[in-house]
Symmetry: C2
């Protein structure tokens, strides 16, 4: 049966790709890129760099354009659900066109963490007959911890991973925050430490750590400058009370 590989490629450092990911990449000659139109050229370049460094055979990129999406819907769940359905239609059509060729989808970080590729692939399986395999990758929180040389938990403590959207209502013993475009850490009260990182593993990597109250203004300002200068930002942080 033909096969689709969903491959985590890490947070951006080409060296943070696993041997398993490199082997899976070299089993295929076609990579689907979902929603490339909306992607920043610099991220496209980082991914191309990862492929060029690790591929031993010729390959081609097949773009799967994203359908339009309501970015501030009233019913978030239903809108995302419908959007995934339409993405699945488009991916199924492109995959069918390949005949019996195997293919792969590269995912930033790990497909298991805040990524919708596996949900879309499961829907494509309702439309086409194929098998698929998942390859884990290093996530941004792991790159963050490594660069700050910290353990995400203190001894025996739990770790909570959440989004900026939900941060205000959740505890922060050890909280890793992803997908926060609003600097939600400024709304967290009390005696809290923060370890923040942007463009982790890439040449422009930036790290800031300290007491939240001492560094929050600095992070906000630096984040705004970087986003302005580069046109995009990828960042994550750990909060610890």
């Amino acid at each position: 049966m033909r096969k689709l590989y969903v491959i985590g490629i890490g947070a951006g450092d080409p060296d943070q790709v696993t041997v398993q990911a490199i082997k899976a990449m070299n089993k295929v000659g076609v990579f689907f890129v979902i929603g490339k139109g909306a992607e920043k050229q610099e991220l496209v370049d980082v991914r191309t760099g990862i492929l060029d460094e690790h591929m031993d055979r010729p390959y081609r990129i097949v773009e799967v354009q994203d359908p339009p999406r309501d970015r501030a819907p009233e019913n978030y769940g239903a809108v995302v659900d419908d959007w995934h359905d339409r993405r699945a239609d488009l991916l199924a059509a492109r995959f069918a066109e390949l005949g019996d060729e195997d293919a792969a989808i590269l995912v930033w970080g790990d497909p298991a963490l805040y990524d919708s590729t596996l949900r879309i692939v499961e829907r494509v399986r309702g439309r086409l007959d194929f098998d698929y395999e998942v390859i884990p990758g290093i996530t941004a929180p792991q790159a963050l911890a490594a660069r700050h040389r910290i353990v995400l938990n203190r001894i025996g403590e739990p770790i909570h991973i959440t989004t900026g959207r939900r941060l205000a209502e959740e505890t922060v013993t050890n909280t890793v925050v992803m997908l926060d475009g609003e600097c939600s850490f400024t709304k967290v009260e009390g005696d809290v430490d923060i370890w923040w990182g942007a463009y982790l593993g890439m040449p422009d990597e930036e790290l800031i750590a300290g007491k939240l109250r001492d560094v929050e203004g600095h992070i906000q300002q630096r984040r705004a400058e970087l986003r302005e200068r580069k046109g995009w930002i990828m960042d994550t942080y750990l909060l610890r009370r």
Copy 2:
């Protein structure tokens, strides 16, 4: 300044080592193994296999014997603290004996997740002058998610990572449990799904998934059989309500 590398080597599959980890391994000729005396031969063999597959130069293993430890202390925090201090003394002594040679410590999974190596290394820095670098690795929860082909969170939901010891008192929207020798999932009530995995990425890998109430007995029994047969077990699981 001489350097110590703390390298995450993944959950057991030699292919789940990153290029960054392989490059760091090949910068040194000495690997410290902390507490090898207590380790199962099979795990020693897996690690030796990883080194043999990826090392391009001769190397040697230097064992750092573990000091004795009270396994069921009344004051858990203080006992662990003292134990880490004594481990740091032993590691500092071995590292000092190497003169100005660089070295590395290999850590299962990722040094950022439920591992005390970085805490010990920080203490060694109070006794010896050196720099250190941390290399992230694929964790058991990531290997678990990849093998079950699941995303750890549903759309927008948080993920909680905790230990068996604390599971009873914590919520289970999406809860990843590590370090559970007691099958604590049997104490979780209500309509919950479980994805369980043991020896992830190794030849003996076992996976079970389903409604918790339907499969909990099967997991308990299989876990006991495997631990009996092999003499040790490494497992982790995701609970979702």
